[in-house]
Symmetry: C2
Subunit: 246 residues, 2 copies
Amino acid sequence: MSKIDRISSCDDCPIRHNAVCAECDAAELAMLERSKSYMTIPAGATIASAGEPLTHLSSIITGCATMSRTLEDGRRQTVGLLLPSNFIGRPGRECSIYDVEAASEVTLCRFERRTFERMVQDTPHIAARLLMMTLDELDVAREWAVVLGRMTAREKVAAFFVSLARRQAQTDGGRQPARTTMLSLPLSREAIADHLGLTIETTSRQITALRKAGLIETPSLRAIRIPDFEKLALEAGEDDDGGIVA
Amino acid sequence: MSKIDRISSCDDCPIRHNAVCAECDAAELAMLERSKSYMTIPAGATIASAGEPLTHLSSIITGCATMSRTLEDGRRQTVGLLLPSNFIGRPGRECSIYDVEAASEVTLCRFERRTFERMVQDTPHIAARLLMMTLDELDVAREWAVVLGRMTAREKVAAFFVSLARRQAQTDGGRQPARTTMLSLPLSREAIADHLGLTIETTSRQITALRKAGLIETPSLRAIRIPDFEKLALEAGEDDDGGIVA
DNA sequence: GAGGCGCATTGATCCACGTCAAGTCAGTGC
DNA sequence: GCACTGACTTGACGTGGATCAATGCGCCTC
């Protein structure tokens, strides 16, 4: 029972692998539990800066953060959108190589880095679980390369909404987004542009164009309604059998 | 001794983690060894097609392969360049979601998928090792997003040569490429263009431009000489303290 | 050596997106 | 109500890279 207790307190954490945890060493899990702490970050705040050592690894419980690189001349590219269950920092490296910023208010579940790294070394199921999570992130990153490298501005914006809708649906427990979906936009236009490799003006124009084409509605600046998800997905360059991006 | 034997025969494989392997269960390693086989693929051949089941996971021993997605209208984006030690396929998924093609002649070390997956589940050090490899690939993919999203054609081409020089140096045992480096180009101009999100014409023009600027020399179509690596890296948008891409 | 074939390069033109510069609009403070 | 601010939108124009079209060049076959 002590085992199960500890595991259930893990429910909101990255290592949310109930069945698997049951096979882990209770002493090790207890250690991880002890090093765990929660933290709330206000919107706009910096969570980590490129090159600065991280004392903790954390996973996002609620909210949205961006991971970006800024070149010396000011050009910025967001390389990842961090949503609930995503990880900040990686075992085996002291620093983040990207800037991580809270796009909305973010709550984190933090683990002391040393402890966490020891767990990964010693506990097979945590390493295996983390491996699956990382492989999924790798797929997302590669899928995004197709968007960045080969899509038009209009397709990029559509792809962004489609991808965000999929990820929000997944977080909310559903598999696929409903045909008609309401989307909360945790990012400013500038942050969207940085994610898409576009300027803020082009992004804005394409959002307008999609609205005029009836593919999206914009009830407010930070919300998007998608009347027909399939149609939007088509606009994002997906063939009819649906895409793969998470 | 039997343990050590098995491990040393792993030297050219992804699971090349001698010290770590010594702690693994000999029976499990033996199983992995039994499922191992080598294979040579001619240049230009398809190694895997998106959506088709893979019976084997493999790692590249020699040569170069590309991982790409082709959209219905023919646009193609290469999402990863596979060089020695890189992995093809992933545990936990039956198919590759990308087309994998041999750019040059490729030799593979293949593992039967089922066996390999069981190993990942059961053997902590293999999962941990695979996790580190995957995290590195994730960094490479994210770094490439910066290139695709925010760099000019000239910077993209320079970044490609710089990145390739780093990876070839790494494979050859050195840490950083020498100041003056000879680079073998395993890709056609078209494949380079697909990797950079450019057309073949723009790619060719930028190679010419870099040559005229004295940043590279082109002794043959499939070779590049870099007289001053640092200078080329600067052209690729890196600040002076060097970049992070593998 | 002539022809053909597959790549790569080069040239001329076009257009999608960047740039620069005004608006517009919601929110906030007085 | 009115000014102020910051985020967003819209407009006019310029440009980097795409597109279309030759041309060059190694390599193979005959």
